[in-house]
């Protein structure tokens, strides 16, 4: 016996089993992208925070946020750019919060604490130039900074950065140009 189902025009009847299979499919698709996009999210976060533990936390949060909203993504081809923006934004938020906390603590402890300077280990790890470079990168406008970070990640060409961020190649090149020029001015 055939069963007749009335479907309202413009609406799709989705049963619990269909919903579950859809969620399984989304889960599987996300899982496939995780191997490639996990390191990308981590590197973007690390580029902003320069601390592996913090970057790992941010990358994990960004990946989970992307997973939760994966179903809402209209163009799956834009997934990488979307994830990069989430990771970058979250890393910036964390970096700003850390800066505010650091500022409060500095004000609280007074100038004596500040006079201690970097430890021997810190000096060994990062040279003076590297420290100045990182500070100069922090001062870059966000859109320049993101393009600079992405273009420096191994394995990504400018063409891929353009596709990832959904902006024209000329815009990527000009942002990169201004970013490098501003860094050079600050480090000269």
């Amino acid at each position: 016996m055939r069963e007749l189902v009335l479907i309202q025009p413009g609406r799709v009847l989705v049963g619990p089993s269909e919903r579950e299979s859809e969620s399984r499919r989304a889960h599987r698709e996300f899982e496939e992208r995780l191997e490639e996009c996990g390191p990308l999210a981590f590197r973007v976060a690390y580029g902003v925070l320069r601390n592996a533990a913090d970057a790992e936390d941010v990358a994990q949060e960004a990946l989970l946020k992307a997973y939760r909203n994966f179903g809402r993504l209209r163009e799956p081809a834009r997934f990488r750019g979307w994830l990069v923006r989430i990771a970058f934004r979250m890393a910036l938020d964390r970096w700003r919060a850390a800066k505010r906390r650091e500022k409060r603590e500095t004000e609280w402890t007074g100038p004596e604490q500040k006079a201690l300077g970097p430890t021997t280990e810190e000096l060994a790890v990062s040279s003076e130039f590297q420290a100045r470079l990182e500070k100069a990168m922090e001062e870059l406008p966000e859109k320049f900074r993101l393009v600079l970070l992405l273009s420096a990640i191994e394995g990504y060409t400018l063409d891929e950065v353009s596709g990832m961020l959904g902006i024209p190649m000329g815009t990527v090149k000009s942002r990169l140009f201004f970013a490098r020029k501003q860094l050079a001015e600050k480090l000269r």
Partner: protein, 229 residues
Amino acid sequence: MNCERYQAKLIAALASGEKSLDGDVAAHLRTCAECGKFYEAEVHLFKAIDSGVRAVVNEQMPASLLPGVRTEMEAKRMAGSWFLALVPVAGIVMVALLILVPLVRYGLRSSAGPVAGIAERREIGPEHRLAVLNVPEKRGASPVKKRRAARHVAGSSAAQPAVQATAVDVLVDPEESRGLRRLAEVVRESPQWAMAVLHPAELPASHADVIRAVQFSDLEVKPLSEEDR
């Protein structure tokens, strides 16, 4: 002045990552030693910037990141499926509560009205003709007097600001019971009757004949006789 212009062109070329210089800039570099030194310093600076940025970005991803994400994903997926399964159940419970709560509340309120429930007497005998109240039984007292005693008790509780619900069973004859049920229905429809019954007004003798007998289909309500008063 010329050197400044060429130096600006050199910086622009290096910042944009061009591999070769324009012809006029390259020619100037061959003739100007100062610009040659400037160019070498700038090349060194841009290389340092590039390698510094690469060092910042290309940090090795910790091995714990992806397994951690997968665990969280699985936990969220399981929680999500449980939640989806619970949504219809929660909806049904909510609808049931919305229906039942007013029913129970208003049902209890209506059953706690000033008119007591009436039970039929099964056995007729003097020991059963007793109101299940703290009303002392008077030997030989008429049913009307017993009802008056019951009303007196009910009336004393009704004198409180809010009428208290009382579990009162009055044992009466079957015919009387049917009549009283009908009275109870009428009183529920017109509560002013209940108030009039619970708080009888003392009328002067001259007005006593104003109250006439009220006739219901199953029950006759008359003014109390002098004997019953």
